[in-house]
């Protein structure tokens, strides 16, 4: 019985060792994440304490600890998305380099293109109005009545193009514009 117990103990020990050894081997094979791997994620995050400083270049002790935390999480096999989410959960959306595309934050992405397109539309409408007006006789003082409005040179005539350019240049130089 005693011998049987010893064998059982050895068996369970071997079983335990057999389950343990692969995990030891795995952790031995998984090297500590490099600085570059840590920085690849840290540069996408902003220091929650310092203003507008990416985590990969922030010199504070707190940021050093956060970089070490990223290293540890990478070593634990966490993905980039999981690590970023961890920081957002703990410190808020301000750690991300851009506002998450949710709720009111959509405004940051929508307002500039809408405003720019509104400007383009206004400009286009103004252009078409002007074009319509210029078909009618132009009244009022034209500051450059002859500027660029000389006779059109014949198509493909190199000399004519040059002459036109020289005439225009001379006129513009005289007008200092």
């Amino acid at each position: 019985m005693k011998t049987k117990n010893i064998f059982l103990l050895i068996f369970f020990f071997q079983l335990f060792a057999a389950t343990l050894i692969p995990s030891i081997a795995v952790s031995a094979q998984q090297p500590t994440p490099s600085d570059d791997e840590v920085n690849a994620i840290a540069r996408q995050l902003y220091c929650p304490v310092c203003e507008n400083t990416p985590l990969d270049v922030c010199p504070t002790t707190a940021c050093h600890q956060w970089r070490e935390l990223i290293r540890q999480m990478l070593a634990e096999g966490k993905s980039e998305a999981e690590i970023k989410q961890y920081f957002v959960d703990y410190y808020g959306a301000r750690v991300l380099s851009e506002p998450p595309r949710t709720g009111i934050n959509w405004l940051v992405y929508v307002v500039p293109p809408v405003a720019f397109l509104a400007g383009v539309t206004l400009l286009f409408r103004a252009f078409t109005t002007w074009k319509r007006l210029t078909k009618e006789p132009i009244t009022g003082a034209d500051h450059s009545s002859s500027s660029g409005s000389g006779p059109e040179p014949a198509e493909g005539s190199g000399t004519a193009v040059d002459d036109e350019y020289v005439a225009r240049l001379e006129e513009e130089l005289k007008k200092r514009n």
Binding site: D35, P54, V57, P59, I104, P112, G119, W130, G140, N177
Partner: protein, 675 residues
Amino acid sequence: MLAQSGFGVFVLTFLLALFSVGAAVVGYFDKSDRWVEAARRAMQLTFPLISLATLMLAYLLVTGHYELQYVYSVTSNDMPFYLKLTALWGGQAGSLVLWSWLMSAFASAVTLRKWERDRELLPWVIVVTSVTLAFFLSLTILYENPFARWWQTTGGDFVPRMFAPAGAVPITPADGQGLNPLLRHPGMIIHPPMLYLGFVAFVIPYAFAIAALVTGRSDDRWIRLTRRWTLVAWLFLSLGLVLGMRWAYDVLGWGGYWGWDPVEISALMPWLTGTAFLHSVMIQEKRGMFKQWNMLLIILTYALVIFGTFLTRSGVLSSVHAFSQSAIGPMFFAFIGITFVTSVALLIYRWKDLRAEVEMKSLFSREALFLLNNLLFMGVLIVCFWGVIFPLISELVTGQKVTVGPPFYLRANGPLFGALLALMGIAPLSAWGRSTYKTLGRALWKPSIPSAIVPVVLAILGVHNWIALVGFTLVAFVIFVTLFEFWRGVRSQQKKQKVNFLVALWQLAGRNHRRYGGYLIHLSMVVMAIGILGIELYQTTTQKTLAVGEDIQIAGYTLRFDSLAQFPYTDGRIVTRAALSVFRGDKFLGNLYPRYDYYTASGQPMTIAGVRSTLADDLYVVLVNWENVSAAQAPFKVYHNPLVNWLWIGSLMFIFGFLVAAWPEREDEKREGKI
């Protein structure tokens, strides 16, 4: 005693500025030259007075009067003389003094000239400049007094006050905290005055614009009168921005020059409207168009100048709560609001008088392309403005702060900057007035051919990033167009004068400084664009802890860690300096000495990168001071920054181009009596 006198001078100057405003208004409405003259003299008197107060402050700074809170906070015994002097603008109170001093200097200079032809504008130019001056002086007197001294209250607290609190005793510290180490860099010493010169100089064209609006003058006289002021403002603002970039590159140790930080953007925004204005006023001068738009642009520029100062001085960027606690924040906010609303109301009042004298004739004319250029600048402005204020809006509405960082700005502004580059190439080839796609096409095809070869060559050389291919093609296009313009002009000059190429070039540029100086500025911008494209698209970085003798590789370079030394320096720094050898293959290229300095008095560190600079690239090595450093091993972060030096070369070219553009034209001087 000196401090009390300095404060007294500021109060007197403030009252004088207020008097100047009142006298100018009375003089205008009563049509009294005597009142206007009194206003002018009062305005001119502010300059020697503020100079005197500034000199007093400078004396107190260099002689170490640490009983003054400002002197205590920005100087220390171990600082060299020149740094004690430049500490004048090293803190909030001092920088506001600098603002006021520059404002009074410029306003005095403007009012020095004889005003026969434009007498009606004078009172309102005085009003605008004096109101601006009085506002900044009020901040100095009420909230940011550089002459306030330390007192110890009966409760034992140390407080800075101008006058003794009840029962308090004066305190004189033996030494000061010293200037922030980050500000002890040549770039940072010159950067703030340059930026402020640009900011304040833009007040002058704004003052004339408001004067034109109030008096109902709808001609372009105000633009012609202030053309040089506008150029000077733009030059200094541009230089201020570039120096700020260089400072960031040298001192901040993150391998870049521009981080899309709100403080940087606040200086960029008036530059954007100012640049749009510089282009747009040409259309008014040439064609009598866009009068309303030009007014709006200069009003916006002024508002953004004050807004930029407000953003950096009010604490609002840290948090909206800091803003509400800040004393000067609400003052700034109110001032911007009042001046902007008043200016826009005036513009609306004169809207009909400012109608264009002619209509746009062609979509391909130079004025149409300039308008498109303005639209693009406004697009960049919207992106920047919205990106800066959105975190504040988010905090106000949701209570949660967000970061709007570089990815947002780069994605939104990249295409706009690309389009601006394209326009920089196309617009000089278009004609004023009637220009058709045919005439423009005929002018475009020659420079387009060599430009089209550029992406092919780059692709063969291994450049496959499409943004780089488009960017470098546009750069090449602008360069070819500009050189083509010079060549055609010179050839025409040669035909006319029968002179050699260089003489013809000299004569050509001499006939129109503004045009050819402008082209040189365009060239400088695309040279800067080469540097920006290089570093933004191709920067690589790596970080590793090295034992002595170990190396690190990046972009074909090998850097070997040779040694590390730590030693005290005469000005109280403890310097930790590493020595590395740089190799390309087996070839030894030289040594680099990255270091970090620890300022014991203030407890602040400063990182100085070791940089190997060539026209092709920069090798930028940082001793990562926040990690574990020892004589045996140290962590290094290495950046490879391709082409970045072209950014600085372009900046130097820009100054040259500006000098050509702004060089006085004798006929103009006689004709217009410029100021």
